[in-house]
């Protein structure tokens, strides 16, 4: 057991020494791995934030009924009556066009633009929720409401959010593919590095085996090398991401201030960062394992 631990310590030390011995090559490898990982991780970061944003929006599905601009109080009254009598409607409220404009001015930071308008561009509107949260209920209501007089447009508010959600899901699949591709690049980089190392250390491997080294003994330093290089690449990716978030947030703050809003990208969470490091170390290990398994058979007895 002690000898086993000692051997692992030896393999780690050996791998670290070899990483440090060729700082340029190791540095470039780590850079490649870091860049390859930071790309999908960065996209994942942005997408997951957009996704949690849309989840908040889709919690309360409702329907908006916009009236035509020339609708008068009588039209409003008749629509209100229709809503009151409709079996699918749970709750509804009326938003007069003046209040809609005032709300818009308050919330979106567009007051300068809106003040310059000669007349209110917004129509009167009703916002209604269904008796239940089934999408079909609101869809049925939408199909009825569009036929009422003086109704210009009916919109399922949850619809755009669901569309966005679906788009984000598409994006997530895309980064999954991107991630897989770049991960295999990481495995390939490690595979080749280890292959070169095995070639340059051929004598050492051969002699070690001749004087009784077991295969795990020979393999271990290479596996540690791959794992440590992957880990360093993961750290590099984390650093790249943190730096990017920092720089982007600075510009984003300026942009958000112009829209009198506040929005910022959160950095990688701890657990996500740990998964990233673990993942990159595992990929490095895998690349090394493939390479060592592929190349060590040359040293077997015939």
């Amino acid at each position: 057991m002690k000898a086993w631990l000692r051997d692992h310590a030896r393999a780690t030390a050996d791998a670290l020494t070899r990483l440090a011995q060729t700082p340029m090559a190791s540095g470039l490898n780590i850079l490649v791995i870091g860049v390859a990982l930071s790309l999908p991780a960065g996209v994942y970061l942005v997408l997951s934030q957009l996704q949690s944003f849309t989840r908040q929006l889709t919690t309360d599905p409702q329907i908006s009924i916009f009236l035509e601009l020339d609708a008068d109080a009588r039209n409003v009254e008749s629509i209100e009556e229709n809503l009151r009598n409709h079996p699918d409607v749970g709750n509804y409220r009326f938003i007069p066009r003046a209040r809609a404009l005032a709300e818009l001015k308050r919330s979106a930071g567009l007051s300068d633009v809106l003040d310059n308008l000669k007349q209110n561009p917004l129509p009167d509107a009703f916002v209604a929720t269904g008796v239940d949260s089934k999408p079909e209920t609101l869809e049925r209501l939408r199909d009825t409401a569009i036929k009422w007089p003086k109704v210009a447009h009916v919109q399922l508010d949850s619809e755009w959010a669901r569309k966005l959600d679906a788009t984000l899901r598409l994006g997530r699949t895309a980064i999954l593919i991107l991630g897989l591709l770049l991960s295999s690049a990481l495995v390939a980089v490690t595979f080749n590095t280890i292959r070169l190392q095995i070639l340059t250390r051929r004598e050492e491997i051969e002699i070690s085996k001749l004087i009784g080294a077991t295969n795990p003994f020979v393999r271990r330093p290479f596996l540690y090398f791959g794992g440590l290089q992957g880990l360093a690449g993961g750290l590099m990716a984390w650093g790249v991401l943190s730096m990017a978030v920092l720089l982007l947030n600075r510009d984003l703050a300026t942009l958000a201030a112009l829209y009198s809003a506040s929005f910022r990208i959160a950095g990688l969470r701890w657990d996500d960062a740990m998964s990233l490091l673990l993942f990159s170390a595992l990929l490095g290990w895998l690349g090394a394992w493939l390479s060592v398994t592929r190349h060590l058979w040359r040293f077997e007895a015939r």
Partner: protein, 237 residues
């Protein structure tokens, strides 16, 4: 008793002390070259045996078969009662640890100093560092290289490199020392020194097998010699 074959076939049973036992061993290489044909021999624990071969690659092949570096085409190679061909791949390293091997071309690693070269077998066997260094120094002292422990192998003379190789072979205190042409590239004076070293290890109970074509060794050692001619045992005395 006049027929040598029954003796060889029953050797393992008749000699419980046998360390190495070859039983009708053939070794053919791709291309049809036969390095060993029908070789049967027994080497007992504590023996010192010379294997001479003036004509071919038979003696080196024989050592390789014994250390499971190569496998016989047919016949049985038995080391300490174990059939080498039937070992699991995972057991081969442990078989090799029974041997200290002295290579004709030294096979030292040129990226590390003499002490680190001698430490290698101990690292492989899982010794703790302090213990290993003590043992490595003792082995270097035995071959007279203690003052050169920090030297890189490339700066050593041929004889010194051979002695470093011997130190590496004996550092793990193997039961059997296998040497392939240990004096091959050395002048006579160096050769004598090396042979004296082997004789000294033999005196403390190590089984020593030396493959050589060097007549001087045979004259110097006056011990059992097995002569191979064209891959066959031609003479034994």
């Amino acid at each position: 008793m006049n027929d040598p074959l029954p003796r060889a076939a029953g050797a393992a049973a008749a000699h419980p002390a046998a360390v190495i036992n070859l039983n009708h061993v053939y070794k053919r290489y791709p291309g049809g070259f036969e390095a060993l044909s029908d070789v049967s021999l027994t080497i007992d624990a504590g023996e010192m045996v010379l294997i001479t071969d003036h004509s071919g690659a038979g003696k080196s092949t024989l050592l390789k078969l014994v250390a499971a570096i190569e496998f016989a085409s047919s016949g049985a190679v038995i080391v300490s009662g174990q059939n080498v061909a039937k070992l699991r791949p995972g057991a081969v390293p442990f078989l090799r640890r029974k041997f200290g091997i002295v290579f004709q071309d030294h096979k030292l690693l040129y990226d590390r100093n003499v002490l680190q070269n001698v430490l290698l077998p101990l690292q492989i066997a899982g010794f703790d560092t302090g213990d290993a260094v003590r043992r490595a120094r003792a082995a270097l002292d035995k071959v007279g290289l203690l003052s050169k422990e920090k030297a890189m192998p490339i700066t050593l003379s041929g004889g010194e490199q051979q002695r470093a190789c011997i130190a590496r072979a004996v550092v793990n205190r193997p039961a059997v020392l296998l040497a392939d042409e240990p004096t091959g590239n050395l002048d006579e004076a160096y050769g004598h020194e090396i042979i004296d070293l082997f004789a000294a290890f033999h005196r403390v109970g190590v089984t020593v097998v030396i493959a050589t074509h060097d007549r001087l060794i045979a004259e110097q050692l006056r011990t059992r010699a097995i002569q191979l001619v064209h891959g066959r045992v031609a003479d034994e005395h």
